[in-house]
Amino acid sequence: MNTLNELWQSLIDSLVRLGAVVRFLLRMLVLIPSSLLRFDLIVAQIWNAGALSLVIIMLSGLFVGMVLGLQGFQLLQRFGSEEALGVAAAIGLVKELGPVVTALLFAGRAGTALASELGLMRATDQLSAMEMMAVDPIKHVVVPRFLGGVIAMPLLAAIFSAIGIYGAQLIGVQLMGVDSGSFWSQMRAGVSLSDINEGIVKSCMYGVACSLIAVYQGYYATPTAEGVGRATTRTVVTSAVAVLFLDYLLTAAFL
């Protein structure tokens, strides 16, 4: 019966943690309007979370698109429908791969950076010092980082998908000989604005989730070297699970 007790306890713990995270989010949301007044801080964080992730996002987008082109071509060739490669790659990227893979890469690169920055500030008393100077560290340090991530994510996902489509086209049309006109016209016929819409909504939600988890873990990290390390690891793991879970929810919701 001990394991049952432990399970129950861990369930309670998870609920408590979830509640704490949601309260943290609410506290941040309340401070957003006043934080927007310091737009320069937010711009710096968009650079931090977005622009610095560009290289990995673009590279990954290209390779994922190329793989899609390759695999898709092999599969569609069996049915004599190679021209459908465009629409297959586009839908796959825009609706699923773009938002999800970008979110996972974001959690790995930008999420860990956010968490470790905040964790380090916690460990070196910078956050306490700010409190002592009567500056709300959440308003000054946390909210700009959160907003930076939320704004950067959908943009990164769009770039990923766009480059992915180019990659698929590179393999399919240039290499495998799919007719360029059919590639694009079938894509245009098969992809609608609502598909793109779905992708954008998904990436926005993933942005909120990943940024929230990252800043939360960093802000409440144990103020030691290993505490910061743990915070960054937990950021990646929790973000990944959250993104994949949200993916299912949102895909079902859009159906």
Binding site: T124, D125, Q126, M132, A134, V135
Partner: protein, 271 residues
């Protein structure tokens, strides 16, 4: 002697961390305008006391009054107002790593005042001059030594002209010269700016040279109070051990363990 109201008045304070009582019925009155040292063995809760005074944590029982404000009833806004009248120097300086020395000292001014840039510049440079680091204004915190970053933090702490300055273990890890510099600054700033200073430390010799009053904490209570000279001849075991730096006494040398011979001669089992 004019009995001015103490700037920090603690009465019957009790506070526990994770069930373990840190303070149980603590009474302390810190006089205005003087340098007061708070000393004690490691783990007696000196830093916790500072957190209680600055409102970072709340007491479980008893009363704390800081500059006339009852800390129990103070809401966030009132707390922030109060903190603007205080300055705190953290153990490792706690400078914001992405700002220059100048920007670090200017930070409170930029956040809380609408002063024109010219005035901010003058204020910052004046405070930096007071701590002897006006020439380092353009450096980044990562380029400073331990002593220098603490001095910058000090300049930042006084830039808003506070009434109360709190130093949390300011001498940890400093060489004798840097230590001497900080000591000199503590005394000079206190007198020239008319501040009250509270210094938490356990460098007995050093802090005795600059403080007016010393509190010695042990076991969550004040075990001694007086001028540095009075403390040196205080009739108490624990004070004697602390002041003299004795290895054994009321604070035991040995961590609690079973009987020595019994453990040595026991049939070998790794614990």
């Amino acid at each position: 002697m004019n009995q001015a109201l103490p700037i920090v008045d603690i009465r019957n304070l009790s506070y526990a961390i994770g069930g373990r009582p840190v303070f149980d019925g603590l009474d302390m009155a810190i006089p205005r305008g003087k340098v007061t040292a708070v000393m004690g063995p490691s783990g007696t809760g000196k830093t916790t006391l500072l957190r209680l005074i600055t409102g970072q944590v709340h007491a479980d029982g008893g009363a704390i009054e800081v500059a006339g404000q009852d800390m129990r009833t103070l809401k966030r806004k009132g707390l922030y107002e109060l903190r603007r009248r205080m300055g705190m120097l953290f153990q490792n300086g706690a400078l914001l790593t992405d700002l220059t020395v100048f920007e670090n000292v200017a930070f409170p001014l930029r956040e809380h005042t609408d002063l024109p840039e010219r005035l901010i510049r003058q204020l910052v440079l004046t405070k930096l001059q007071a701590v002897g680091l006006r020439g380092a204004a353009g450096l980044m915190p990562s380029e400073l030594s331990g002593g220098m970053s603490r001095r910058v933090a000090l300049a930042r702490a006084i830039v808003m002209d506070p009434e109360l300055l709190i130093y949390d273990e300011p001498f940890v890890g400093l060489d004798p010269i840097s230590m001497g510099v900080i000591l000199r600054l503590i005394r000079r700033l206190n007198d020239t700016l008319g501040l009250t200073s509270i210094v938490v430390s356990h460098d007995v010799e050093e802090i005795s040279t600059v403080s007016d009053t010393v509190f010695l904490l042990s076991g969550g209570k004040v075990v001694a109070k007086g001028t540095p000279q009075e403390l040196r001849c205080y009739p108490s075991e624990i004070v004697r051990q602390f002041v003299g730096g004795l290895a054994d006494g009321p604070v035991p040398f040995h961590y609690p363990a079973p009987d020595y011979f019994a453990e040595l001669l026991a049939p070998g089992e790794a614990n």
